[in-house]
Symmetry: C2
Subunit: 178 residues, 2 copies
Amino acid sequence: MREIQDRRSIRKYSDREIDEVALGKILESARLAPSGHNRQPWHFIVVKNPERKRRIAEVAGGQTWMLTAPVFIVCVADIRARIETDEVLYIDEETPSFELKRVIRDTAVAIGHILLEATALGLGTCWVGWYLQKDIRPILDIPPDKFVLGVITVGYADEAPGQRPRKSMEEMLHRETW
Amino acid sequence: MREIQDRRSIRKYSDREIDEVALGKILESARLAPSGHNRQPWHFIVVKNPERKRRIAEVAGGQTWMLTAPVFIVCVADIRARIETDEVLYIDEETPSFELKRVIRDTAVAIGHILLEATALGLGTCWVGWYLQKDIRPILDIPPDKFVLGVITVGYADEAPGQRPRKSMEEMLHRETW
């Protein structure tokens, strides 16, 4: 697919805004992602406020390039889509739960759709994951039982990087057994 | 994107084989997936052997429909792509490691590419995750430090299911904060 070939991580964006129609198509692509038992354990927070973006970039290793993107989509995996309990839950990077792994898995696929749909629309993206749950959640009032799987910067690219190197097919492909 | 709209989980396949060119394109789409620090922490095992497929379907809840698919792609997340150690590692559903979450995340995106590229080629797929690591790994000689994230059945569909219900956009979309 062209979109898979053409997708790049874009770290420099032009001033051009994203219209709500394009943004809606991107979010719709995530809504249609497959998920285990069709639980759809994902939430998306669209962030455009400059001060909020600044605080996110700050906890994400101070990556100021992020601020050139007009929109961040903060992508959240919700373990409560798979666990019905009244118990208080606290989730972080070291939580052992299998259910957390499952909602991370499913939300990752939905984010993959976002990256490809944006590419189809001529938009650039970058998946940022360099932050701690305890630092990023308060900026967005996200409860401590949710896992922020990625902050996706979205905008029109103002750079045209080449494809990053990849392992050869031989390094990842096995036949019949490991 | 058409492929995102058209993708379905297919649980009944025709007898038609998959040629190696199509299979190569599907695997190439996974190879091009994005990953944290470009670590590409994924492996893919192409399984066609009927007896091996039978044993996989057996540990996957006895889902005999799987056997109608000519090819399984067993998708494996490898924590050693992010942890350099000579230590013996054992990974399973309850392992707390952040690095395991990261390789699951990245491998899930690569599997998402497989599902979409197959759709683009007119092939059907289903992501099967209903097994335990300890049961499925020995069938494929997979070491105990690897995590089998999914078994993807691939073949030409012999059914045409509708789109599964989805949550409304309102249920998953937030603006500025949770």
